[in-house]
Amino acid sequence: MTKPVFIVSREDWSLHRKGYQDQTRHQEKVREAIKQNLPDLVTDESIILSNGRQIIKIPIRSLDEYRFRYNYSKSKHVGQGDGDSQVGDVLGSEPAKGPGKGEGAGSQPGEDYLDTEVSVEELQAMLFDELELPNLQEKDKKQLHTSEVVFTDIRKKGIMSNIDKKRTILENLKRNANAGQPGIHGISPDDLRFKTWEEIHKPHSNAVIIAMMDTSGSMGSFEKYIARSFFFWMTRFLRTKYENVEIVFIAHHTEAKEVTEEEFFNKGESGGTICSSAYQKAIDIIDSRYSPAMYNIYPFHFSDGDNLTSDNERCVKLIGQLMERTNMFGYGEVNQYNRSSTLMSAFKHIKNPKFQYCIIREKGEVYDALKAFFYKPEAG
């Protein structure tokens, strides 16, 4: 038998990038998957409860590769001990699943968490990409021109408060280097550089959102959670996308009052419900502070629909008055069990296209509500 030959070699692999290319494709697909999961992520407690500040990253499961496989936790497995294993020994345990908690590190295979993570900002960018304030109109162009200052040029002359230090030092370095004495020294007036600016005039659309929430006793924790999730994203959305949007917060039970943002998101109340109180309050605020001639106005009301029956007629009337002053009126009803609510039965007869409503039965529908209220007109 002849001796088998062997060859030892070392090629240049630097062009072999396939692994990285396919890794990138996987990450792209993870992003696509996140997009498809937006309805669930939008109501993710870890984001809402932290006000979107503390939590910076959400771990995202890498894409599963589905195939026919055995149920790991329902089958038997063989393992190996140190020599004294006994029947009944516990090898490990999986923590019981709590609400909102991820699965603990079990021995179950296939549950891959990849270190692909999305920040709230990224998530928000994906979400907001699909939203827009509907029917936004330019109000009273003359008055609402805003001016913006943009630094556009660097000059040798200017006022000292506008000195551009970095460029000045660079000029000094350049001059000294040319003179054969490198370093920063002897800054002369010739080195000084100043920023100059231009004023840009832009026509602007001002908008105000009136966020109204039912805080009566009938609003359970689920209802409040849903309403707050909606308003949480709404405020973030408006503040990210529009420069001149003001938000007025109104909480109501039998009475309505204007509250701070902090109170709006955190305070619980109790008692009965008279929705018209909120609508009246909204009208008062509009009339005293936000002239419809100057503002795009969007009132939104979230409730469980459980209103004092005798108040419904008044509600319909006030909504009519509100719509005269506003671009639209959005009503969101959190109605877990899909019962017919007193408020909705009254609102059914409103035929004005400015009236938009949305019924939310489960968490995932907050996303739909956002999309329904802040719909983007079809391009073209």
Binding site: E11, F68, K74, V87, E94, L114
Partner: protein
Amino acid sequence: MQSHEIKELERAIEEITEIAQGFGLDYYEMRYEICPSDIIYTFGAYGMPTRFSHWSFGKTFHKMKTQYDFGLSKIYELVINSNPCYAFLLDGNSLIQNKLIVAHVLAHCDFFKNNMRFSNTNRNMVESMSATAERIRQYEIEHGTEKVEQFLDAVLAIQEHVDPGLIRPYRRGERTTPDRIKSREAAAESGSEPQTGYEDLWSLERDTHSKPEPITVRKFPSQPEKDLLWFLEMHSPELEDWQRDILTMMRDEMLYFWPQMETKIMNEGWASYWHIRIMRELDLTPEETVEFSKLNSSVVQPSKSSLNPYYLGLKIFEDIEKRWDKPTQEEQERFGRRPGQGREKMFEVREFDSDTSFIRSYLTKELVEDLDLYIFEKKGTDWKITDKTWMNIRDQLVYSRVNGGFPYLVVDNGDYKRLGELYLKHSFEGMELDLKYLERTLPSVQKLWGKPVHLETIVEDKKVVFTYDGKKHHRQFI
């Protein structure tokens, strides 16, 4: 690696090769390639340096590479079953690491060359896979990356469902026409049944004119068909030519990988057994001996929640050697076993067995106790040891290795309800399927078949049929 280091490595390989040959190991020519970690991990993720591109490989690559970067795991070596046999060594391995790996790799190559399960393996797979990758690339250009990717997704989801049986080689590559296609073609030639794609309608019309012919219920397929990929390739009314082509190529790749999945424990045990024996023959310095022992124990260390195939395989092989070298009085009398045949028996086992028969025949009561094996399962939220009966342990291990560890499905009916729907059956062997995964995988089959698909299995001792019709899932107890 410096050139003098390469010289040193070459000298070591020469010595090891000689020793291995002296032990009777029989391997192909070897090509050792030294490469950086990301390349080794690419090959590891793809299973082959030249394989086609797919995001799932990218995912595996990323995971493996990350674990390596954090120092959690390390592949020192990778070996490709081909002739010549390729072994990739990680750049940065120490000389002693490389010595161990070379010894290990030679035993793998011997196993590839001599084990029965590999007898049909295409030894030019490196080139074949490269050609496949090129062809898939062309299809991407022709039909769009997205479309090809979606098709690959569907095929990869069911890629394990092939029939690697050794006695039906007609399925390998060449296309033979099974009965139904033949009879259809015959019918088409005689003009009795026009092949328009509207057969259902024609037959409706015929029924109104003439008496219905007596229905001969011919089963299709006549026998339950295990090779789902092959069946789809042959009979799916849905596929375009390029799709059929990809299906064929993917099936060939799976058939190439299959013997490795069926002999994992044996193959790793065999390689571990020999690297230890070969290293003992080398003249190692004390430092080298210590480094070798550390490395070796990290390779063959047992684990609590899963079995280390290196360790288990090694122990079984060593046990075989011992029992055939020094048979007991009883074994000598009952089986006529003569002493001193350990090695001979080992070589026989490496030739004829696969993991299931290896464990069934050679995992003894003494070994189960010696290794402290046990059965564990989930009770409530705990994973608990529930059984230490040696026969149950052995059987459980065998079950877990049946069909490469994948559920055994067959095509029971390709014309279910006479509507051309696909009816699959799971041959239930005591282990339930993951239902979430089942429902996510059925759409892939439906996509490839084009009509509703059904899968019958057992859940909580009841027969259940899962159906996906292209839009919705249904579950039905029967």
